[in-house]
Symmetry: C2
């Protein structure tokens, strides 16, 4: 859910992995080598992404492939979209109010 | 930046405060009473939101007002939008490939 997805995306390394996997599904090595991190650190970040349902791992022989579960981005995207929409309506209402009643110093 | 905003939105209480403030700017008390949290906990969550530039506090006499900085949602929204777009193109490319070359069992 949005809950886990936001927390999963809260770290720049995890967002970097998502950016990489949005371009192509690839191996753990290829998806994470750009960060130059120790393997336990990579594993910890991947576990967060997998547990949140943002990334899926497929094991083929000795290779671990990662793919983005694109649908996992829907809930946080919709949440942000809703808050922006509500805030814009609020902003418009305040502007209308000021236009009708004048600003504090007007 | 997107960085801080995602981390600020990673906790359900902080998202709840944002949801409330997207509806109206209000006092700290009114924005947070629904969570039934101890004051130090509320303060800690508000500090994260303020430090990330998601929420602004205005002090009028003895009252602390909170307002959402709506623009702070733009960066995470754009980031999610970009990843979803990239992933959908990738998904389409895989579908096209399977249609042209057949699936593994086809």
């Amino acid at each position: 859910m949005a809950n886990d997805a936001f927390a999963a995306l809260a770290h720049p390394v995890r967002r970097g992995i998502v950016e990489r996997l949005a371009q192509e599904s690839t191996t753990v090595g290829a998806a994470t080598e750009q960060f130059g991190l120790a393997k336990p650190t990579v594993s910890r970040h991947l576990k967060v992404l997998e547990d949140a349902g943002v990334v899926r791992r497929r094991i083929v022989g000795r290779l671990h492939y990662l793919e983005l579960i694109g649908e996992s981005l829907d809930a946080p995207y919709a949440w942000l979209s809703n808050q922006r929409y509500a805030w814009e309506r609020l902003f418009d209402a305040v502007e209308d109010h000021l236009r009708e009643h004048g600003s504090a110093d007007g």
